[in-house]
Symmetry: D2
Subunit: 366 residues, 4 copies
């Protein structure tokens, strides 16, 4: 099968690098276009990028010329699938241009996540929300659209919450995070701020977690999303960890749940046909029985970095239950989330053809 051509916006940043790492040998997608800010455009990717991953920068990618961050700037053909790893301000300006140019913009930015007709999707949680793209004006005009994935701190959490919401209903929850520095990009967090330290503040992060959980666990009703009616209170902290966000959760259900029922909800959670989605983990939520897990250094790479690990399920003296959830913030929480969104869109026939809304699923990967 021929691989679909894809481009990466914001290719030189931390999430852009993860896109390259995850897409380099992807069976369905082929990187044919890389774009970054004016500072980088015109250089080879190898010159423009300070590669920070522990797998080598692929030679073919290093030799590609970085394009300007605009649809018309594309030398040769602009791919119709664009993975976007832009800061919110830049995304707010650029992503609509690519959607208007007929591209499927698979965005990791916060810019449009809470916009009513933009799907905010984690495929295991709410892939039905993807149908919102058909209501976007770009879609009607050019076939293009914008799909977003949530904040890195929300993804692991909603993976753990979704099977609980389905079975017990969530009334309220606390979450206190300990987030890795890679979530702030590069150069990001100065070493003097975080070595041997904790910073109990990440700008806008608590607000994002609270509202994104509501939309992700909300229900599609016709052409809009009914937010989940649950109280969510988040405390967000930065800690001296390279990769992997750890989150302490206390939760109250609408319906009483036993320990066994909760563990069953997690272990039986398999909403996707992972065999046919290259990036989907076999088990999206893994429970570790050890008393001191999950831990970012040991558990972030489960499911090739796409699984969330839960642990320490125990009773809460204030709400019902307490547990800890961990996930890799730049794989599951960013680039991998976007790639999985694209894979599901491919399965749904939303990537090809783009010119008109497709209704019949294309047998991708069959």
């Amino acid at each position: 099968m021929e691989r679909r051509k894809v481009g990466i916006l914001g290719a030189t940043g931390m999430v852009g690098q993860r896109f390259i790492q995850l897409l380099n040998h992807h069976p369905w997608f082929e990187i044919t276009w890389l774009a970054a800010s004016d500072r980088s455009a015109g250089k080879t990717y190898g010159e423009a990028c300070k590669w920070k991953l522990d797998t080598p920068l692929p030679a073919k990618i290093a030799a590609m010329t970085v394009q300007p961050n605009v649809p018309e700037g594309a030398t040769g053909e602009l791919p119709k699938i664009i993975f976007a790893a832009l800061d919110a301000d830049v995304a707010r300006e650029l992503e609509p241009k690519f959607a208007a140019a007929g591209c499927a913009v698979i965005s990791n930015s916060s810019a449009f996540r809470m916009v009513a007709d933009v799907p905010l999707v984690v495929p295991e949680v709410n892939s039905d929300h993807l149908s919102l793209i058909e209501t976007q004006s770009w879609r009607k005009e050019s076939g293009g659209y914008i799909v977003t994935n949530p904040n890195c701190s929300a993804i692991g959490l909603v993976l753990a919450l979704k099977p609980l919401e389905e079975r017990f209903g969530i009334e309220s929850l606390f979450v206190s995070t300990m987030q890795a520095v890679s979530g702030a990009g590069y150069p990001g967090v100065p070493s003097l701020d975080i070595m041997g330290n904790v910073v109990p503040y990440i700008k806008n992060e608590e607000e994002k977690m609270q509202e994104e959980v509501g939309k992700l666990l909300g229900s599609l009703s016709g052409n809009h999303i009914e937010m989940l009616d649950a109280k969510v209170s988040a405390h967000c902290n930065r800690v001296a960890v390279e990769d992997g966000h750890t989150e302490c959760v206390s939760i109250k259900f609408k319906k009483k749940a036993t320990r066994e029922e909760i563990l069953a909800a997690w272990s039986e959670f398999a909403p996707l046909d992972s065999a046919h989605l290259p990036t989907a983990p076999d088990q999206p939520v893994e429970y570790d029985t050890a008393v001191d897990r999950p831990q970012p250094r040991l558990d972030r790479m489960r499911g090739n970095g796409m699984a969330a690990t839960v642990g320490r399920l125990r009773e809460c003296s204030l709400l019902d239950w307490k547990f800890v959830v961990l996930s890799h913030n730049t794989i599951r929480g960013a680039a991998g989330a976007a790639v999985l969104n694209a894979e599901v869109l491919a399965l749904l026939g939303k990537l090809d053809p783009l010119k008109k809304a497709a209704n019949s699923p294309v047998a991708v990967g069959a």
Copy 2:
């Protein structure tokens, strides 16, 4: 004024070292006796101890001979004031022997904290509980007694809570901690477990926090403590920080409180006559208005390591208010807490004479 002679049990450990650091130039106390386990007894302190603090080991202390961990083992005179920095198992066996031998045992151990007639005290919070010592059987027989300070993770918290409890009443609270490695002693946490990592578990810590808060904020009623009737739910985590425990708190009051009222409660909190207590900080709870404070590396040494710093007061979508509190875990949270307990006992006349229960305050430091 002549300084009172004091001894240190468990002198070679991390808290033992902090006792030496804090007592070395103390105006009221003089270290005349050091004891440690059999492995160390008989050696000089300089030989026995792997000194881990960044101030020099005092030469006079280095030359002292470490005594066995038993009252009868004392070469020369056994001091009547014993600061104890023992593991709980050892404390459970040894501390009563020293109390029975007529010593005021100022303990940092968890062994007796929750025993009904043992005061669990943070002087700014509940110094009236100290009167419980008069009900101890050792006190009646030998004049000796045991006084304890709380767990390192509970101390900063109750300092922040006490002025709020006084004014608004606490109904429930959620606390999620990020605790420093020094809290686990030496060698303590292996570097492979914590570098670039988070361990979301500290043995017995959540239980200790929950129950100790209840006793500390409880009220003395005749000869026993009425526990505070509030729900407390704790999540305890170890992070890659040397010193300083950071805690995220959500809290619900019995009586509504405004932001200004809460800030006033903290800023006006001055329960001790700090001018007459060498180790008491001028302001036990300091509020920092910066959006990203408190931080352990920057704030742990406020008030010479004895002040708690609070910050980030904001509304909670689930309970009433959220904030962050930080305190130094081996100074305010351990050795300094015990020294301050001893200072208050001295002011109350409970250190001298020990043979009979003293009722009239001795004018120490006047």
Copy 3:
């Protein structure tokens, strides 16, 4: 092809865990026996071991029963190939027993490295030294023998040095190391000793580096090794890195070398038939042209953790040239080194049959 049965001595430690990780899917070897100290013997491996790697403990291994650390303790058949990850003191006692029992002991310990008839081997550097096993008394009696690999800090260094020694001759060198904490095992280095710190001392390490380099680069002359006649001065330091030893080298050659000649010596260094050795890296020494490389976090996993990375070649104002070399200390520097030794022994026919010295290479992997 049937896989050869192998055992692991000291299976629960850090290097033991790496052996399991590297051998679990090895095409030539199959783990059938695990042994550890009395504390662990009798338990399942899953119970006995605190698994510290970021790949999951294989379920099959977790279920195996840990055997006592003695040849006669083997339940079922004792494998004839034993990977040993023991502390030097224990190795000194146990490894000869296994050799005497007819086992090929592939040791990572320092106990016998400098013994005259024990080969100290890095296959890319001095695989001809392996013939020393034929002179061992165990070999003659039972077929068993001991082969060792060097200290983790010496391996990366000699990989970088070997092609230079071949072409230019080494007269003297200075090496200053910055070594990862995993080199000290688990629990190993206390976090309070190394977080935000440097410890400029590792017991016996400088001596080991200096003498092992001499033997590794020495020449086999009949039945003994002529040490390399070069002055080596080592400074060894522990730094806050999980995995990967970084070493700064200044070197003086017997014959002048240009920058291009040195780079060519490294890039052309391909002493092994890596296509036929599963663990051998394609390129054992990789030069990185970036001004700030190699770095442990970014480069340790090159060649699946088996390649050494060199960088920063520049003139030395005192000797001839300066450079930096980095290698993974528990893969290339320990378990991987031993596995590669075993692979070469297999190719040489020294693993099968063990009862008599084999002279004809067995076509393994062909």
Copy 4:
């Protein structure tokens, strides 16, 4: 005694903050003027500065208005003593303007260190070089001049070397550094670059160390400095340490030295009248006999951060001796060095009066 008014150029950076910390309660100097770049000028210091030290920002300083970085920009009186903590590029432009305006510019920048008529001084090492200021053209015209202190990595080293050079003569030396992140300023080193990592490169650092050592240990001959004729080879590395540079040294002397002679040279090294210089440590070079010292976390604050600690003296198999030296890079290695230079200049009468070259020592502090 009235304190002299001083100003700080580059007051908001890491070294600027250390100047404020060290000068805030200085008995001889009083901060009356703070300047920083256009971005900060006009704001209060509290607004302009992200304070990163663990002692509180003094309230009086926080309230001061930051002035523009130019002599004519001074609101009120421009102090005649200026401590400069500027990047080299900025220093190259601005420091001469202040010297021309009649200020004694006590500079921490590298811009003019190697200029022939600018003294590069560590008072314990070469305070006689200060007389070079009299040859500066600014001095003749306005009374102003520039004095510099060395790079943070050179200072600890030359403190250890000076007593050895005096007694044995230095022929050649290797030095391999492990430098703290604070040396790169703020934001400086990104956390993703250094957490769990080593960066074996610091721009221009090896060149600076090599040439500055030559000038510092050089001898004043009339109006110029004869560089020390010794070969120096430096390897410079960045490690995950907040403060404190650790350096491994191998050294060859012109005259043989015994261990005892070297230890005596260090312990007897007391070139300054420390009783009359507030910032001078009693013992500039302290030898620690423990096998694993010095260590940055434990030893950097000796002598209030102004002493260098040496340790691990042992024979070198290549040169004569090996040792480790450590010093605090932003106190001894930067702001403290400059303050001590100013104190010595005060003692020499070079601070007052500035209009003409003073020959008679002023009895400061007498």
